[in-house]
């Protein structure tokens, strides 16, 4: 047993500092995670909790001829077994389309399949039992009879459309987009050099350490539903449960406890999760669904299955004139609700060529249906594709022109004094810092020395390569991302700050925490804005009944949007505190300030009133305040980015690799990243976001691929078969920053969460191809497995 004096609550943390923004303070709230005392969804225990497991389709495309559930209903512990029609009576289907993606189409999707299954792993029946073990045992007693339907697994085959995933839709095309700038043809004709290459990107997935999970608890007495959910967007889910289960929105409460990683995986509507909510209503008791790892591989969204041809036209001096893109991507049988599966391809079109000053661009995108698992927005959405296409072809051009890749980039990167800037795809940049970032990167990595080392090692038969990848990144999205398309996804976020009687500040924010340190940076901002030490601040997120309404955590928006709301609420609270202090002290408000947990004289810093004393008076002895004076110690502020569609960030990465040309193995020696996310609130947390993102990008580039057979059966649905980055193979990563604060908010913070993932695959690819260049070999299909490297070298078929 701990001695009483050792209990953490009694340890004095009263060191006070003003201005936590920009400081690497350790994350508040992390200690419980370090002691295994977090609360992930599967850790929750409720009375009468029932467990659901799903009978899933073994086929990629089949009609359900018959489904025999009676024997399963007789098994020990089984509470109920339902088919798709049963659940459809309580949960309406959905269609994942958005108004601003012109022409996008999809088919209605049910919580549990009705009549037909469209991918292997789609839920066909739900078994609810007293324990998960009993529910899984009962699965064996379900008998299904199938009529197999033709399978569309290849995206070229899907595009041809001889076999249809959804015959009612007429073709397999979910979304098509073309764009061409006016001067494109002329620019193309004026080119001295045109380079062209086709790149392929394997499907991969998020592999959150904590698989998806939901616990729905319906209370029939007041027709209310409380949903504990490992989600990134609680208000979005509140709206969706309301509309599809026909329960008033205000009767639905979504609570996010600790979430074991999200990365975009946990921001979508999943059929089995909707079914779980419906089952709770049907059975009038709490029901939990906890996906296991096999279910995660079969049903968590996948991403990035693309085949794209990119052409670059330039002058002999290296000036890039135009890019020409054709992208084909396959998204599985449904466009995922409500964000759609058209966004990733759309981002590739928007972002390809992004760092450069060319003014002419042509692009064509086809997003097609197949009978594999669905794909949708996963960390860095489209960026890893766009950056790899752009930076891959820029390196090809450098080779053809005989120029150094860094020199070619310097000629073409948009100059740092050319902002605001309109890009040919239609997007606008407020202010970027490509050249500063390039300079910083080259200095950081000792580029010239590294080139010399590379050349001398090559003479000894050691094949090393250096790869650069400049990038732009979408962050802090405005309503233009989803809201204008009709999705009920908030673009604004809110913060409520309250000074409590003891002088503590309670902060409630609509942005959620999945481990990024969101709550920690809000603590720093709130403490700074109010004038208290961080140990006086408590942050609460992830509860729709408690926090202001907002979008949640996705698209690198938490710090930039939620943080600005916290800052503005904190400033308002400080002002209200000073009103009360002025009333108590009978002094001019303008002569007072809040510093170090107390009201002080602005000029001399002399202590006037501790906040705990101010709180005591305001809450318990307001009778001593002037008649007519009402203290307001709770304030709420919101923030919506409006001026630009997105607050773009920029950065550049570099990778240094060694390729073993006998085995095809690539050793990642080192990685660098210089990134500009505007105001850095906590450098340590930002650096770790970048590092984690880079390794996630490396995973996609080197290891991760969801492999399917020709009849769309997943081959590698376990962590033993699907490779993820582990520590031994990963390089040390050097991170540095240029800070160009956005002027659209007072905080000036842009997003940082996805930049690492956006640029890493391109940097690694370029490094491998740089290593192989002297052998005339080149890789272009991710992931770059040893087999593919050897194929490029002509050593294996």
């Amino acid at each position: 047993m701990n001695a009483r004096s050792e209990l953490p609550g009694l340890i004095d943390h009263s060191k006070t500092t003003n201005g936590y923004i920009g400081q690497s303070t350790p994350r508040t709230g992390a200690k419980k995670l370090l002691q295994g005392r977090g609360t992930y969804l599967d850790d929750l225990r409720l009375p009468r909790l029932a467990h659901v497991v799903f009978f899933r389709s073994p086929h990629a495309h089949a009609r359900i001829k018959s489904l025999k559930l009676d024997r399963a209903r007789q098994q020990a512990g089984v509470i109920a077994v339902f088919n798709g029609q049963d659940i459809a009576a309580f949960c309406t289907p959905w269609v994942g389309v958005l108004g601003h993606l012109k022409g996008i189409k999809s088919a209605p999707q049910h919580a549990v399949a009705v009549d037909r299954v469209c991918w292997q792993g789609e839920a066909v029946a739900a078994v609810v039992a007293e324990s998960r073990r009993q529910a899984e045992d009962a699965l064996e007693s379900i008998e299904a009879d199938w009529e197999l339907l033709p399978v569309v697994s290849d995206m070229r085959q899907a595009l041809e459309g001889k076999t249809l995933v959804h015959p009612d839709l007429g073709d397999n095309i979910c979304f098509h987009r073309e764009l061409k700038t006016e001067g494109f043809d002329a620019a193309w004709a004026a080119a001295d050099v045109v380079v062209e290459k086709t790149y392929r990107f394997g499907r991969h997935t998020g592999v959150c350490n904590e698989p998806r999970a939901i616990l729905a608890d319906y209370n029939p007495a007041d027709h209310s539903l409380t949903v504990y959910h490992a989600t990134q967007a609680p208000n979005m889910m509140q709206d969706i449960f309301s509309r599809h289960l026909d329960i008033p929105e205000s009767n639905i409460r979504v609570i996010c406890k600790d979430v074991g990683g999200s990365f975009g995986i946990k921001v979508h509507v999943y059929a089995d999760e909707m079914a779980t909510a419906a089952l709770s209503v049907m059975l009038r008791r709490p029901v939990k669904f906890q996906a296991d790892r096999a279910e995660s591989f079969l049903t968590d969204i996948h991403a990035r299955e693309h085949e794209a041809t990119i052409r670059l036209a330039c002058k002999r001096n290296g000036e890039i004139l135009a890019f020409d893109l054709e992208d084909l991507t396959a998204i599985g049988p449904y466009s995922v609700y409500p964000r759609t599966s058209g966004i990733e391809g759309n981002q590739v079109v928007n972002l390809t060529g992004g760092p450069y000053r060319h003014q002419q661009y042509r692009a064509k995108l086809d997003v097609v249906f197949t009978n594999k698992n669905v794909t949708c927005q996963y960390r860095a959405v489209g960026h890893p594709i766009a950056v790899a296409l752009t930076e891959g072809i820029v390196d090809e051009a450098a080779r053809v022109l005989g120029m150094d890749p860094a020199a070619l980039r310097r000629i073409n990167l948009i100059p740092d004094d050319h902002y605001p800037y309109s890009f040919p795809s239609g997007i606008k940049f407020e202010k970027l810092s490509h050249h500063q970032s390039l300079d910083r990167l080259l200095a950081l990595m000792n580029y010239q020395d590294l080139r010399a080392e590379q050349a001398s090692l090559l003479e000894k038969g050691v094949y090393r390569g250096i790869g650069l990848a400049a990038m732009i990144e979408v962050t802090n999205p405005s309503p233009a991302f989803y809201g204008v398309g009709g999705a009920r996804i908030s673009a604004q976020d809110g913060a409520t700050l309250r000074l409590d009687p003891a002088g503590m500040v309670q902060v409630l924010v609509s942005v959620t925490e999945q481990g990024q340190g969101t709550e920690a940076v809000f603590t720093q901002i709130a403490a700074t804005a109010v004038g208290v030490s961080i140990d006086k601040v408590r942050v609460i997120t992830g509860d729709t009944a408690v926090t202001p309404y907002g979008g949640g955590t996705w698209a690198s928006r938490g710090a930039g949007i939620g943080g600005e709301a916290v800052l503005q609420a904190g400033k308002a609270l400080r002002s209200n505190i000073l009103d009360i202090a002025a009333a108590i002290l009978q002094q001019d408000k303008a002569s007072l300030d809040v510093r170090d947990n107390a009201v002080v004289s602005k000029l001399s810093g002399e202590l006037k009133l501790e906040l705990a004393e101010l709180g005591r008076v305001a809450y318990f002895r307001p009778d001593t305040l002037p008649m007519g004076f009402q203290s307001e110690l709770t304030v709420t502020r919101h923030y919506t980015p409006r001026e630009y569609g997105f607050t773009f960030t920029n950065g550049i990465q570099a990778s240094y690799v060694e390729v073993d040309i006998d085995t095809g193995f690539v050793k990642l020696l080192k990685h660098w990243c210089v990134e500009d996310c505007g105001t850095v609130i906590n450098p340590m947390l930002v650096d770790e976001q970048i590092r984690g993102g880079i390794v996630q990008g490396i995973g996609g580039a080197m290891l991760e691929e969801c492999l399917y057979t020709e009849d769309a059966q997943l081959l590698n649905g376990s962590l033993a078969d699907y490779l993820v980055p582990m520590s031994a193979e990963m390089p040390d990563i050097v991170v540095d920053h240029v800070q160009t604060p956005t002027r659209s908010s007072e905080l000036g913070a842009k997003g940082a969460g996805e930049a690492g993932t956006a640029g890493a695959p391109a940097a690694v690819m370029n490094a491998i191809n740089d290593a192989l260049a002297s052998l005339g070999a080149n890789v272009s299909t991710q992931p770059f497995t040893p087999e593919r490297v050897l194929q490029a070298l002509g050593k294996v078929a």
Binding site: L34, R56, G261, T709, Q713
Partner: protein, 208 residues
């Protein structure tokens, strides 16, 4: 919870049979009594013979600090100590813990055994979502017991059976290095204290 491997062919392809289940698994309804120590407490329970140790700890004892990431021995999130040895809680049956001493993150935190590591993890932000963290800390502890002064490469190799999706591992390696340095410094201080004790009879510094 059943092992997802039961629904996979280990050779690779995911097979859900026509009946929705690949194996006609032997029903593990049989129960056995087990007596063991968990975090220093004597525990006696009837457990299903097929129940994994980590499920027993989480479901029967409410010790939810050990997490289930893959249930097939790859991710390391369910790591616990059995008679002081690092064990994957998803690869050991509860009945196999008969007569043994099991320690989990909760007790190892309370005893202060992990304090140096936990402090270093906090300072380096060597955890984000925290799901892998208990397993990572226990693995790092085992490394510190096994190897006196591991190189960075050795640390990376040692923890490469623990999956972390958030950090990219570097901060974890940094934190373990810091913890090792601090332990060495404490040991040196302690040795100095011992020396002084023998020189002067005064226990200076020995309290560190």
């Amino acid at each position: 919870m059943s092992d997802p491997i039961e629904r996979l062919h280990v050779s690779g392809s995911v097979h859900v049979s026509e009946s929705g289940h690949a194996f006609n698994a032997v029903r593990g309804e049989q129960k056995m009594p087990v007596r063991l120590q968990v975090n220093g407490e004597r525990i006696e329970r009837e457990v299903l013979v097929r129940q994994h140790l980590v499920d027993f700890l989480r479901e029967d004892l409410g010790l939810t600090g050990s997490h289930l990431g893959c249930e097939h021995g790859v991710c390391g999130a369910c790591s616990v100590l059995v008679d002081g040895e690092l064990v994957r809680g998803c690869l050991m049956l509860a009945v196999q813990a008969q007569g043994k001493q099991v320690q989990t993150i909760e007790a190892l935190s309370d005893s202060g055994e992990l304090a140096i590591l936990q402090q270093a993890f906090l300072e380096h932000n060597a955890m984000q979502c925290g799901f892998c963290t208990p397993g990572m800390l226990l693995t790092a502890r085992a490394l510190m017991q096994e190897v006196h002064a591991p190189s960075r490469e050795r640390i990376r190799e040692y923890i490469s059976g623990n999956y972390c999706r958030c950090t990219g591992y570097q901060a974890i390696v940094d934190a373990i290095e810091t913890a090792i340095k601090r332990r060495h410094a404490l040991e040196a201080l302690h040795a100095l204290g011992q020396q002084k004790v023998s020189n002067t009879g005064e226990p200076e510094g020995a309290s560190v």
